[in-house]
Amino acid sequence: MNPAEACDEPDPGRRATVLVTEDHALIRMEMCEYLRDAGFRVLEAADAEEALQVLRSSLEVAVLITDVRMPGECDGLGLAAIARERRPGIKVVIVSGDAADADARRLSDLFLRKPYNIGVLVEQVRALQGDSAP
């Protein structure tokens, strides 16, 4: 039995893959759970380095959601720039506590200022995914 037979698959049209990059475990867990409940396939990265490993792999990623400030050598802005370069079709969502972050706005398809409404985030991601649909 394959996964589609093992459980009720959500609407296939909404099964785009979202890569969530957030170093705060509880925030990441909540965001990922919300996105999965909304029907997305979600990959979790605890920092930019983990996200880069995913982007270097063959795993499909339609949307990257990343925080700006993260531990390690690469922050969310560096990650977004690399994602743009390696995955030209990817949609980038950046969340930041700094509303005046010009680099975040320039590098993102969607910029959300913290604190953000998780329901709004999901709707915006859904809209972005719709924008990239053929």
């Binding site: 039995m1 394959n2 996964p3 093992a6 459980c7 475990a25 509880l26 867990m29 999965r36 990959l43 979790e44 990265a45 605890a46 920092d47 983990e50 490993q53 995913v54 792999s57 795993l59």
Partner: protein
């Protein structure tokens, strides 16, 4: 990779916490278990696992022995034995370590091998769940 069936014999809301610092290995087994109808939490380090355990009901923990930071998989297993005795613990290593190392820490030694054999992981989780329900 395909999942061989759902979480038969287990409630579909059973939660498994996967603790592994290799993001691709962690994602692969987490994705498989989700396809089998488990709720799966992910942590790259034991310290993050403790944060998630403080806020979520977790039925089983699958952890790599070799975790970065101040707490490896064995230490995490000892913590779980002391503070969360009802949580099933599965340890894994690359390459597989001797069974006696895990005998008092792993529910069902020997250690699982990494990268994970997803079907074996699923079998272990199901088997232990069934044993717990029989008690």
């Amino acid at each position: 990779m395909t999942a061989e069936g759902g979480a038969a014999g287990s409630g579909p809301t059973d939660t498994v916490l996967v603790v592994d610092s290799d993001v691709l290995v962690r994602m692969e087994i987490a994705s498989y278990l989700r396809d089998c109808a488990y709720k799966v939490l992910e942590a790259p380090r034991a310290e993050e696992a403790l944060v998630l355990l403080s806020r979520s009901k977790v039925d089983a923990v699958l952890a790599d022995v070799d975790l970065p930071g101040s707490m490896n998989g064995f230490a995490l297993a000892r913590w779980l034995r002391e503070h969360r005795p009802g949580v099933s613990v599965f340890l894994a290593s690359t390459p597989p370590m001797a069974a006696d190392l895990a005998a008092d820490l792993c529910e069902e030694g020997p250690l699982l091998a990494r990268p994970y054999d997803p079907q074996l992981v699923l079998e272990r989780i199901r088997k232990l769940k069934a044993e717990v329900e029989r008690r």
